[in-house]
Symmetry: C2
């Protein structure tokens, strides 16, 4: 812990402390805060102005949030909790034990408690779970001047005030007005006249990944979450969706690497946790790979006759795996980004097979040279070269088609990982290899 | 093309057309627009209100932007170009031929042209290249009322008006004020009194990935880009950074798949383009993999004596590759997200090796069972099982350490792709396998 800060804390010199912390952003203060001894954390959070304290708390993990709110005096704890944005409060309450959550709920006024309870009912990866209720709503019949007065009254608590959500007389979302439009309009204009009626909204059940997709396509800063009859549940702000975008990309990475996605940052996973996420696919792939043994036993006679054929097994199946992995990662990502769709399957096949033919020809030539250097004779060399061509084309084709089919079947295409394709191509590649050998070497 | 829209276009019925399009978001209109015949695109864009036309244009590719601006009447083209946000204008001018860019530049007033020229000098992946000059600046001595009048005057053109950037008398960035703060403050308050002085800024040369990292950590909606003496070049808005986040994740995906990153969406790449991005790594990996041939030739006697050992080659090296790929993808992503740093290397090694030991033990047992089923005898089975354990641990270790070392050496850790690790583990795995065989079978 920073010595200067430590001294300021010990001296309880508020003026100097405030001056010191005013040099940092809340995020930076949170980073320092995490490093503190727990006793210092308690002391410090109690000395800070409530809005800043709440913002810092929002950056730390729910467990630490709870340990702090539970141990500081209840007035401060209550103020901090009420100041935190509602999506963060929901995250906290869902992460801790229900008994502990109940305890914290008592800090909230009844109507807010009810809103929080509603938000807590949405499933963890849905739009509803990301929504915050700190938005500004206004009535369509209000004038610009009334709206401004309202902003002055409630604006302090809102998470985002660039937009004001306009509700009709039934409380349904009728349109949005930007703060800019309000400032540019005459004071007696009715909101109805200047509001934008076609609002992009999402239902509470929508998957968070889809929400992120919509938000980034439409270049929005916030998106309202609504019920089926267009009543507002809350808004999702872009900063929360950036976290979703990161999360989803991380998940796809891990899946493509042949592991189940980790739900927590790397170091939060125990050895046992990592083990569990990895063993499943390792075993499945092992069993799938095991049939390469059968293929080889099937060709045992060929292999015994020309042991040199074995020299090229890792090289050929490795090349197939590499080529397949290149194609599959490109396509899985293209699917995730919406660049490729199932209807493009023939276009994709044509592209990948054509590319595969050229890549295969190159690899075939290099394989021939390599065989020459290993001194295995021109015959075996030719077999290896021709096999290389076929394996690359075959791997490209399989890797191009499988993700698209899975996507069509509503299965996450990222399960077709690099290791998966490599395994698939290993056995089939060996069949190609030994069939070629038998045909070309007359075995 | 939508028949209703087509009719409205042909009838030149502006009222009905406006009513029809008011039901859609600009992004949706852009999606339709792209599908039009070129003649219809020209007709349509000329009929739209300029601000909407400009927004739609911003969503389409630079080549199409140019083909449209070049063919419609110059007044409309000039208005559209001036209405587009400056970062998009820069993207357009950099994407087309310099002669064409010069032609378009003539549509811009001299002072704006100068700003655009400055923005064009920044390298494509830098903060400067993403900056837009459509922000609102105010003087620190202005009152809230003056600031509001200024917003009313220039706010129409600004890309984001949630924040006003406050400059001191030397024109340097002194602080920011949110529109909310302005509305909440008394009209005669000076901006100086309410502005937040510690602004998170980025230099124009900063890499866009780092900017995205800062913006998502600090939960900002926009970030000012400044010169070394704190003069504002422009602002970067969060929507542009979401594109960067997607781009960078896509690049990492493709690198991890053992391909050079594609710079364009999938279908924009020709077969030749895909070929070039893939052939490099395929060849490097092929050459690296080729030494497995030497390893096998070195152990040719052992292999001839016990041909059944060959049955397990693909299985064992495949398992090593799978296990290594799991670890490497997890760590490359954790490095990219800042969850793991070089100083954690021993912690990571301990974690991965421990996990590897447990995974290896499991795989060893399964390998023993598999060997039993293939009927190769208990001796060979034991060799396979012990090798499986060592290979998994070895692959985990290599895959854990390499990305961290590369990161430390300032080389992008994503070059350690799945195929790279698999290749590395193939040869070394074979050495482990045959050494075990020689030792345990007394060959």
């Amino acid at each position: 812990m920073d010595q200067e800060l430590k001294n300021l804390l010990d001296e309880q010199n508020l003026d100097l402390l405030y001056e010191y912390i005013s040099r940092f952003q809340p995020y930076d203060l949170a980073e320092m805060f995490i490093q503190f001894e727990h006793e210092d954390q308690l002391k410090w959070i109690s000395m800070l102005p409530i809005p800043l304290g709440a913002e810092i708390l929002e950056y730390v993990e729910p467990e630490l949030q709870y340990r702090i709110l539970d141990r500081i005096n209840t007035d401060t704890a209550s103020s901090l909790l009420n100041e935190m944005s509602s999506d963060k409060v929901v995250d906290l309450l869902l992460a801790i034990h229900p008994h502990q959550a109940e305890k914290l709920m008592k800090f909230l006024p009844p109507d807010y408690r009810e809103k929080i309870s509603t938000l807590m009912t949405f499933s963890p990866d849905s739009a509803g779970s990301l929504a915050t209720v700190e938005y500004i709503a206004a009535r369509n019949s209000w004038t610009v001047d009334q709206a401004l007065q309202h902003v002055r009254k409630v604006g302090h608590e809102a998470e985002i005030v660039s937009y004001i959500y306009v509700l009709d007389t039934h409380g349904k979302l009728a349109g949005i007005v930007s703060l800019k439009d309000i400032i540019l309009a005459k004071p007696d204009t009715q909101l109805e006249e200047i509001m934008k009626e076609d609002v992009v909204t999402v239902p509470a059940e929508m998957d968070q990944q889809e929400v992120a997709y919509i938000l980034s396509n439409y270049d929005l800063y916030a998106i309202p979450v609504v019920t089926s009859d267009n009543r507002m549940i809350g808004i999702i702000t872009v900063d929360d969706l950036i976290d979703v975008i990161h999360e989803e990309a991380t998940e796809d990475f891990q899946k493509l690497g042949g592991s189940q996605p980790l739900e927590e940052p790397y170091f939060k996973n125990s050895i046992w946790g990592l083990f569990r996420k990895r063993i499943g696919w390792l075993l499945i792939l092992f069993v799938a790979e095991a049939y390469t043994g059968n293929v080889l036993r099937h060709f045992e006679d060929t292999l015994s006759e020309v042991v040199t054929l074995a020299f090229f097994i890792p090289l050929l199946i490795g090349t197939g795996g590499n080529s397949g992995t290149q194609t599959v990662t490109t396509l899985v990502r293209a699917l995730a980004m919406g660049e490729v769709k199932f209807k493009d399957i023939f276009k994709v096949m044509r592209k990948e097979v054509s590319t595969g033919v050229f890549l295969g020809l190159c690899m075939g030539i290099v394989a021939l040279i390599r065989a020459e250097f290993l001194g295995v004779g021109f015959d075996v060399g030719t077999v290896v070269a021709v096999t290389a061509i076929f394996i690359v084309v075959w791997a490209s084709l399989v890797a191009a088609v499988l993700p698209l089919i899975l996507h069509k079947l509503k299965i996450d295409p990222a399960v077709v990982s690099g290791p998966f394709i490599a395994t698939l191509v290993d056995g089939t590649g060996l069949i190609i290899y030994f069939t070629m050998a038998k045909l070309m070497l007359n075995l």
